[in-house]
């Protein structure tokens, strides 16, 4: 037990002296969403379009020099799609968790990439499904505490491939961007 405490103390001290800062943030995104269902579910082979609105909380983001590691959690809503061949992609709510790495190219620019899981709930049908996937974002910081982001995501699960591309705002709440 003493050894554990000693190791943790040394590790924490090293991290502090290595220039690690806590960098929590919150953000919102509005995206174009495109879904391709497998032939097993959709014979039309159509791409089902909608919008996707998402809010993100990132309380565990840590910045070490130019590198940033985070575990963002987000919730989202996708309205129903247009009608196609008498069918319509139903509206749904999502909850996502991902692991993300970011690299600060400069004071103003950040590139991020990561992977995670998403749960989608179709509330009228009272049914849900999981998907796994990745995300890529480019952020521009016009201000120290605020960034404009261009997020892209790609997730697969429940016999569906979901793609989103959008624009967002992120507000940094922590020590430094």
């Amino acid at each position: 037990m003493k050894r554990v405490i000693l190791i943790l103390t040394l590790l924490t001290t090293s991290i502090v002296y290595a220039g690690v800062s806590w960098n929590p943030s919150i953000g919102v995104n509005a995206s174009y969403s495109a879904t391709d269902f497998s032939k097993a579910l959709d014979r039309t082979g159509s791409i089902w379009s909608s919008t996707f609105l998402e809010a993100e909380a990132n309380p565990l983001a840590m910045k070490i020099n130019h590198h940033e590691f985070s575990l963002p959690f987000s919730i989202g809503y996708r309205p129903s799609s247009d009608i196609n061949d008498r069918m319509q992609m139903a509206d749904s709510f999502t909850a996502s968790l991902s692991l993300r790495y970011g690299f600060h190219i400069s004071e103003k620019f950040l590139i991020e990439g990561g992977g995670g899981v998403r749960y989608r709930w179709y509330h009228k049908a009272s049914g849900g499904s999981w998907s796994i996937g990745g995300n890529l974002s480019a952020l521009f910081f016009p201000l120290d505490f605020m960034a404009i982001s261009i997020p892209l995501t790609l997730y697969y699960g429940g016999n569906a491939l979901d793609f989103t591309a959008g624009i967002g705002l992120r507000f940094v709440l922590g020590g430094g961007k």
Binding site: L41, R86, M87, S126, G157
Partner: protein, 294 residues
């Protein structure tokens, strides 16, 4: 910045263009029996009224949607068997042959309704005339797969959940204990959904089925209202039928009526104790079926 704004405007324009439903046919096939001609099976009071009310409501909804309406009503009532009012000793083969004989296109809607007894174990319908005559769910599904069009099934019978094949892509939030519904929550679905979300069992038959009960439960000949089957009563109200004045009406808010709108409305409006004992089941898909569009 200018280019970004143009791109966003194009995206928003593409997203905001609402697709229009093509206008085709709505075909209503209904099988209802009070078993007044069938020996050995308990008689039922409400199936003939279920069929009459549903046909009136679906006809008015189809007409208001600008679609051509066609109906095939297989009825056993007051000691007579009729098809569209004409006396005929119809059998389950006549029902299946009617389905196969339909001329349909991809955007046509076929609504199949059954109100009568269901067999324990198989969920088979008992359309008579003999007590041994059965129409099995698999036979009905395989026959429906042979024709074009979108199929919506409303089944008001015991053990009717046998019709909901576990081919849907989604995992339900319902939990049962001793054949009674004990909870319906997103939390119930999270763990079971892990396996289902990444398996390849999903199958698109273009059939959306809504049944009065699970594969283990009974359904009720009447409950809130003596005139209609328990499930059919709430189904009629969800479609816009006025069960008090027994009149077919158009729902006031207009717009689209989809399959999951009806499912959600029936589940919400049904008394908790009825829903616990006879829990309506639906095919679970991410794609909803647009039944009527105004």
């Amino acid at each position: 910045m200018k280019k970004l704004l143009i791109l966003i405007s194009v995206m928003l324009t593409l997203i905001s263009c609402r697709g229009e439903i093509q206008h085709g046919k709505v075909i209503f096939i209904s099988v209802a029996s009070d078993y007044s001609c069938t020996e050995g099976l308990q008689s039922l009071d409400t199936p003939p009224a279920d069929q009459k009310a549903l046909s009136e409501e679906i006809e008015i909804l189809a007409t208001e949607s600008g679609e051509y309406y066609e109906e095939y009503l297989f009825l056993e009532a007051d000691g007579k068997r009729t098809v569209n009012g004409i006396e005929k000793e119809w059998t389950s083969d006549d029902i299946l042959n009617t389905i196969i004989g339909l001329e349909t296109l991809s955007y046509d809607l076929i609504i199949f309704h059954y109100s009568g007894h269901g067999e324990e174990g198989s969920g088979a319908f008992a359309p008579g005339p003999s007590q041994n005559a059965r129409l099995y769910p698999e036979e009905l599904i395989e026959t429906l797969k042979l024709i074009d069009g979108k199929k919506c099934l409303f089944i008001d019978s015991c053990y009717s959940g046998n019709l909901i094949e576990d081919k849907g892509a989604l995992t339900s939030g319902e939990r049962f204990d001793d054949n009674e519904l004990v909870s319906d929550s997103i939390l119930n679905s999270i763990i079971p959904a892990i396996e289902k979300s990444f398996s390849s069992n999903a199958e698109n038959t273009e059939i959306w089925a809504f049944t009065a009960a699970t594969s283990e439960q009974l359904s009720y000949d009447s409950y809130t209202d003596e005139n209609y089957g328990a499930f059919t009563y709430y189904l009629l109200r969800a479609l816009g039928y006025n069960t008090d004045s027994q009149e077919a009406t158009i729902p006031g808010n207009g717009g689209d009526i989809t399959f999951y709108d009806i499912v959600n409305e029936v589940r919400k409006s049904m008394p908790a104790d009825l829903r616990r004992a006879a829990s309506p089941q639906a095919t679970l898909l991410p794609l909803d079926l647009v039944l009527f569009s105004f």
